[in-house]
Every structure is written in C-alpha cells, then in structure tokens.
C-alpha cells in the first residue's frame, strides 16, 4: 500500500492526516530494495543467511560483510544502507559490552533486541536526525535458548521463528513457512537457508551474488560464527542442485 505523501513527507516529525509518518516508510523502502536477509530459529540454534549482491567484479570475495557478531552468543544480519547498518551493529556491541560490565552476565538476547530497537526508534523522534535506512535480523543463544528478533527502521522489534527482509522477502517468507523448524537442526537449517536465498535471487534483474551465512547453535558451542567452510560449500551445492531441478521442470 504505497502512496506519495505530498507535503507530509518532508520531516520525520510530521504525521500525515491518515496517521502515517512517511519518512519512516521511505526508510523502510531502502531496506526493501537491498539484498535479501533470512533468519530462522531451529530447535538447537539460529541460522542467518544473506544474499550479498556484488557491486563490482573487482571486489574481493568475503569483503563487505553483511553479518556481524555482536557478542560471543549473538550476531546480526544487516539489510539496507550499509553505513547505517554499521552504526546499528556498533551500538549493539556497545550495549552488550556495557550490560556485561554492569551485571556480570552476557546480555539476554531479548534485552539486546529491546535496546537496539530503542536506539533505532530514537532516530525517528527528532527532526534533526534521519531514520536508519537499514533493518537487522538479530539471532542469539542465551540461557533461555535460541531466539530470533527482527528490528525495522521504525524501531519496531518482534521475536520470530523465521524472518526475511530485503528484495526477496515475500518469496523467502513463503518458503520459510513451508519448513518444519521445530524439528530441524541447524545443520539442516543451513542447507534450507541456502536453498531459499538461491531460490529468491532474481538472475535477470540483479547482478551476481555471494552467499554469506552464520549460525549460533549447540554445534558451534553457542558461539556466533561463520558457518564452517565445508558445510557452506555443501549448502551451496545443494542449493544449486535444487535450482536446476526447478528449472528442469
């Protein structure tokens, strides 16, 4: 439901007559136009995957990371304006560090998500700031188990079984809903996420992409880390095969 908000969209401190803040909606568009980010919560952990669109052949593979570790036990995948995303990650790291210094225990993921959301929301309250043009999918594993949160540019944050943002989010969400997440391990989840990302990538419209994935699960000792090389290759191969099968139909 998009419409132009002529006259009411010049400032983030202006409401339109039908109760919308257009600047925030425009910020969300920046996220919608970026490469897809997918996150799922499996029974033993979280998997995050990113469709990293490669701007230039000159870029070194593995550079321009879209998934960042926030703390030993959590990480976030970023979509939208890269520089804005970096700010959010920096703030999350800072919050996690401060919490542990004060309270002597790692920050619960719920608390971290609330703080990040609070910070993103803050930037929608003042006319001299602009909203963040990026959304994040935050996954972590604390003493209450694995948890997945998504924070949007409006500052809204919900907890999910599976979430997707970016270009291919509609198709990705449909695919995620087909999965039986509560019965899946992260090992299997990695393969599924790869398949989803390869599936939603639009060969015709977009340039080539690099698949970036991370997980935090029992197998990784509850630490957030890049998915191991071997498993990543296996996932890519499975995703390619699944694509070819679909094309063959």
């Amino acid at each position: 439901m998009s419409s132009i908000g002529t006259g009411y969209d010049l400032s983030v401190t202006t409401f339109s007559p039908d109760g919308r803040v257009f600047q925030i909606e425009y910020a969300a568009k920046a996220v919608d136009n970026s490469g897809t980010v997918v996150g799922i919560k499996c029974k033993d952990g979280i998997v995050i995957g990113v469709e990293k669109l490669i701007a230039s052949k000159m870029m070194l593979p593995g550079s321009n990371r879209r998934i960042h570790s926030v703390h030993r036990h959590s990480g976030m995948g970023v979509a939208g304006l890269a520089a804005d995303g970096r700010q959010i990650v920096a703030r999350a790291k800072s919050e996690a560090h401060n919490y542990e210094s004060t309270y002597g225990e790692p920050i619960p993921v719920k608390e971290l998500a609330e703080r990040v959301a609070s910070y993103v929301h803050l930037c929608t309250l003042y006319w001299w700031l602009r909203p963040f043009g990026s959304g994040v999918i935050l996954g972590g594993y604390d003493r209450d188990g694995p948890q997945l949160y998504m924070v949007e540019p409006s500052g809204v944050s919900y907890r999910y079984y599976g979430a997707a943002i970016g270009k291919g989010r509609q198709a990705a969400k449909t695919e995620i809903e087909k999965l039986k997440l509560s019965e899946m391990t992260c090992r299997q989840g990695v393969i599924e996420v790869a398949k989803i990302i390869y599936g939603v990538h639009d060969e015709a419209k977009d340039k080539t992409f690099e698949l970036e994935m991370s997980w935090v699960c029992d197998e990784s000792n509850r630490q957030h880390q890049k998915v191991p090389e071997a498993l990543l290759e296996e996932a890519k191969a499975a995703a390619q095969a699944a694509l070819e099968e679909m094309d063959a139909d």
Binding site: T102, Y103, G104, E105, P108, K110, E111, E114, R143
Partner: protein
Amino acid sequence: MDRDATADVNAPHSMGTTIIGVTYNGGVILGADSRTSTGLYVANRASDKITQLTDNVYICRSGSAADSQIVSDYVRYFLHQHTIQLGQPATVKVAANLVRLLAYNNKNMLQTGIIVGGWDKYEGGKIYGIPLGGTILEQPFAIGGSGSSYLYGFFDQAWKEGMTKEEAEQLVVKAVSLAIARDGASGGVVRTVTINSEGVTRNFYPGDQLPLWHDEVEAHNSLLDILNASNPEPMST
C-alpha cells in the same frame, strides 16, 4: 580499668559480627548474630543483619552499619529496575555483581564485608562472598565479620557438600554460636534465612537457648528475683 566505663556513644556504629552463608542441596542458608556496637557499647543487641534485596536474594552485612545499609539500598534499587526491564527475577550473580561494583569502585570510602546469597531458576542456590576490597568470589560457603576468624578451622572440619536443609541449618546455628562465644563483638541472637525454590523462611534462635561452650557459665537472671519469689525465706548462715 577506668577506660572501660566510658564508652563513646557517638562512635560510628559497627557490626563486629559473625555472618555465614552456606549452600545446601536445594538452596542456601544465611546466618548472622545480632550485635551492633558503638565502641564498647552495644547499640543494638537484636539487630537484623540479613537484609532483603529481592524476593529471591538476601545479603548478610558486616563492618560499618551505615556503609552496608547504603550499599544494600542502592543495590535493591538497581535490582528493582533491572527486574522490571528483564521481566523476570534477577539472578543471584547479577545481584552479587552490582554489590561488587559498588564495593570496588568506592573502596576508599567503604568499610563493609558482604555475603550475597539466594536462589534463581538457572543456577539454583548460590553464595557469593564480597570482602573489603571488592573482590567477588562464588563459594559453596562463605564466612565473614570479626567472629569468622574463629570459624575457619571449624568449617574445614564440619563442612560437607550436598547437605540437607536441616543439616545445613544446624551447622549455621552451631557456627554462629561458637563465634559468639569467642568474639566479643558478636552476640545476641542467631537469625537465619533459608532461600530455595519454594521461597524464603526466617528463623530465630534466642541467645539464651544457644548451647554453652567450653567454660561458658549459665545465664543468670537478676538476683532480685530471689526477693520477688513466692516465699522469700531469709538466707540462713
């Protein structure tokens, strides 16, 4: 001997004290004596040195009464806010850490030794000792205060892992009463607080019901009682 008669009632209140915290199979038991002294004068002979921070975390206070009270007030306040934000009870570890940060960062001004004890659903019963400088040490049992000097050997011998609630309570009461017998700055009654998954229980052991040790003499009521007795017989030679 004239000096003893003139106690300085304006001296800062200090809890000479014996405080103890012990874990058992299922929770923790905190124990303390009840003497608060200003110099040689016992300002309060029935004080409660076991203070509540949250529903599930209590602390034993020793050293300067004022310092330990202000620290517990601050930590109670911080924990209250933390509980609201977290949406669930704070853990014993968090409570202990907040105490430690205050104790360490203000070490030049404070003179208080604290034992933090409680129960939470993640770790069960836990005891943390936070002595003068602001170290924090998680221990199966902790002792503190001036009376604790006399208990190190006792605990070496009497402590066992995985005691029942009754065994642990008896151990705590015995230990405090031993310390009271030897430490002039500890005395009065023995208070205990038991914390486990079911909640909190307070117990009280009056001083005159504590066992007598070694060469302690039985308690005397006032000799005036003889005069007020039913048939006051004149004493015979």
